[in-house]
């Protein structure tokens, strides 16, 4: 394979050019990760007077803790909920763009806006919309006989955080789906139409299989997003409640560490999360390379 190679006359220059990137990686990634890793083997009292090396005790405790099991389960439900909701909605919207010709550009531009909204702001927005006292949606739900209260109901709370977290991710998925759909040769769909396939049949036998690499990529990205980037959404809406029902892993790290001041357990939890991210990334690279060739 041909690669472009640049020959540097000066031996120091290439390292100097790499330095900013390496510095950022060290300061913001390697160093904190190392700190968390070290901390996960320590036990420290709440006031920081005494630190003790406890080997794997933090991990051992964690894996038998029913609250941690609950948090794991909540995370699974939440991630799948966010991934499915945002992917399906985005795909439907992207298909709609394909069908409208004249206003497609304006439509696309508008749909991309939510992605520019910060997660915390999105959380607050949905918190207002769903607020049992002043929100418009509970008011509407009340008219059809549903008593919405995410402060009491575990189900309501979960729906709220899933909707709030999915909302801005839809924009991201939408862009990828629009690009994916545009890459499908139009003649394929026409050939299927001539072969007698109706719109639904065409979608499930031609379009969706052709989109599968895009869909798989987005699935992984969305799960990673739901698991790690939704702290602000949870924090702005339910704060993990009621009764731990929306306390996802990443929020629990924060709660145990910074509210509960149990730094050892919090560090152990973040190391577990780190392992999950690495695993997901490996899956993504391994699978995507295989799946792109249909």
């Amino acid at each position: 394979m041909q690669t472009k190679r640049t020959i540097f006359g000066n031996r120091v220059l290439p390292y100097a050019l790499l330095l900013p990137q390496l510095a950022i990686t060290c300061v913001f990634f390697l160093w904190p990760a190392g700190q968390a890793f070290r901390q996960s083997f320590l036990r420290e009292d709440a006031f920081g007077f005494k630190t003790e090396f406890v080997w794997f005790e933090n991990y051992g405790k964690l894996f038998v803790d029913p609250q941690y099991h609950n948090s794991l389960w909540v995370t699974v439900v939440f991630s799948i909920g966010v991934a499915v909701l945002s992917l399906v909605t985005a795909l439907v919207l992207a298909l709609a763009v394909e069908r409208t010709l004249r206003t497609a550009r304006a439509y696309t531009t508008l749909l991309v806006w939510p992605y520019a909204v910060a997660p915390a702001v999105a959380g607050i927005l949905w918190w207002f919309l769903f607020n049992p006292t002043i929100g418009i949606l509970p008011y509407a739900l009340d008219m059809v006989g549903y008593d919405w209260n995410h402060r009491n109901s575990r189900v309501d709370a979960m729906i709220l955080v899933i909707v709030a977290a999915s909302w801005k991710q839809i924009s991201y998925n939408f862009l990828f789906f629009v690009a994916g759909l545009a890459a499908i040769p139009h003649s394929l769909v026409e050939a299927a139409a001539i072969d007698g396939a109706g719109p639904l049949k065409r979608f499930f036998t031609i379009i969706f299989p052709m989109l599968s690499p895009t869909t798989f990529f987005l699935l992984v990205v969305n799960i990673v997003y739901a698991m790690f980037d939704t702290f602000a959404v949870i924090h702005a809406t339910t704060e993990g409640g009621p009764a731990q029902s929306t306390n996802i892993l990443v929020y629990k790290v924060f709660e145990d560490g910074f509210i509960g001041l149990n730094l050892g357990s919090s560090a152990a939890q973040s190391v577990v999360l780190m392992v999950i991210v690495v695993a997901l990334t490996v899956i993504q690279f391994r699978w995507i390379e295989r799946r792109v060739q249909y």
């Binding site: 026409e190 139409a193 007698g196 396939a197 052709m210 249909y294």
Partner: protein, 381 residues
């Protein structure tokens, strides 16, 4: 009853009309080629027959049924696309079986029909492969197979050979013609390649700017082009066009002031402006006294069998009177030569100077037979 009837079909995109009323009647089993330059509306017309474009005005009938409002899948047609449009995630077998599965055939029926078609196209060894594992020619065959297997009322082919290299194109051209003859299914074939058009067609439709300028057999289109456009489009190098003015008994006055009197054609009334068309292969070098016109040779192309002499009508003003002559390969010509040429009897075409339409009333009835003879010989050789 005709297999396909296109009646007064028009197509608008917004306010622009791109097809201005086309009428074609296609008999059962006929191979019709629509030929024209890019942008002439030939693909649009085909896609309207297929149901991939809406019909603004007029009707299209397939097998005696008006199909204007039918979905593509309900029209009983099969189409071969320029890029083949094979489903990349399906094996060759599944590609060919897709339409049959949707039609609700049983597994054994599908297996039998795909097997038969694959045998006919020598695709059996590739049935389990994906399209990306096939060569261009094999993909083209699969696309043909996908159309054949459904046994439709008509094949629609949209420039199916233009993605192949020149050698393969000649081979596939022959294969398509033989296949169509063996299954006897009506075919509507779109191309911009005049050689493809001439060799494949039972009848040609020459389109230009959304109008079918001439619909006739390839030989008739060649021998009696209906317009200056058709005359220039069919035949290579293109027909020479010289503006002339009728001069009564003297013949026709050329741009250089001299007169020619082509034989075996009636002449227009004196004073009428016309365009004299002569194919490069129908002007022969003669001795000076018998010359109809003289070619001021500018460039010479030697093709082996033929030599093409490009130049200008001697004495014509700059920029006018472009002229090409196809001479026997042994002819010695050099740029700068003044070549005396004669128009072969009956090989002159006259067109209206304004509209470009053939002045058909001037053709002698005997001319057609004479025109066909040497060409038939050439084809047999």
């Amino acid at each position: 009853m005709s297999a396909i009837a296109i009646r007064g079909v028009r197509k608008n995109y917004g306010k622009t009309e791109v097809i201005h009323g086309v009428d074609i009647d296609i008999a059962d089993g006929e191979f019709i080629v629509i030929v024209g330059p890019s942008g002439c509306g030939k693909s649009t017309l085909l896609r309207m027959v297929a149901g991939l474009e809406t019909i603004t005005e007029g009707t299209i009938e397939i097998g005696g049924r008006v199909v204007n409002r039918l979905e593509p899948g309900e029209r009983d047609i099969a189409m071969v696309f320029q890029n083949y449009a094979l489903y990349p995630h399906m094996s060759v077998f599944d590609n060919m079986a897709y339409g049959l599965k949707i039609a609700g055939l049983s597994k054994t029926d599908i297996r039998a029909r795909v097997g038969k078609t694959a045998a006919m196209l020598q695709l059996e060894p590739f049935l389990d492969r994906k399209p990306r594992q096939l060569s261009g020619g094999q993909r083209q065959r699969v696309a043909m197979g996908r159309a054949l297997v459904r046994d439709p009322a008509a094949f629609l082919l949209d420039e199916p050979l233009s993605n192949l290299d020149a050698k393969l194109r000649v081979q596939m051209r022959l294969e398509i013609k033989q296949l169509q003859q063996s299954v006897g299914t009506t075919a509507l074939y779109v191309t911009h390649d005049q050689v493809e058009a001439m060799t494949l067609a039972d009848r040609l439709v020459v389109m230009h700017d959304g109008v079918a300028e001439q619909i006739d057999t390839p030989m008739a289109v060649y021998a009696r082009p209906a317009t200056t456009f058709v005359a220039g489009f069919i035949g290579s190098p293109a027909m020479n066009m010289l503006p002339v003015e009728a001069a009564g008994n003297l013949g026709l006055t050329l741009a250089n002031g001299r007169t020619v009197k082509p034989r075996d054609i009636r002449l227009p009334e004196k004073g009428r402006k016309a365009i004299l068309g002569v194919r490069p292969e129908h002007i022969a070098p003669v001795s000076g006294a018998n010359a109809d016109l003289e070619l001021d040779v500018v460039a010479v192309e030697t093709l082996g069998a033929d030599t093409l002499a490009h130049g200008r009508l001697a004495g014509a003003a700059d920029g006018s009177g472009e002229l090409v002559a196809r001479l026997p390969g042994s002819t010695q010509v050099q740029p700068g030569d003044l070549l005396p040429l004669a128009i072969e009897p009956g090989m002159a075409h006259l067109f209206d100077a304004e509209t470009g339409a053939r002045l058909a009333e001037l053709d002698l009835p005997a001319k057609a037979a004479r025109a066909v003879k040497p060409l038939a010989e050439a084809l047999n050789a």
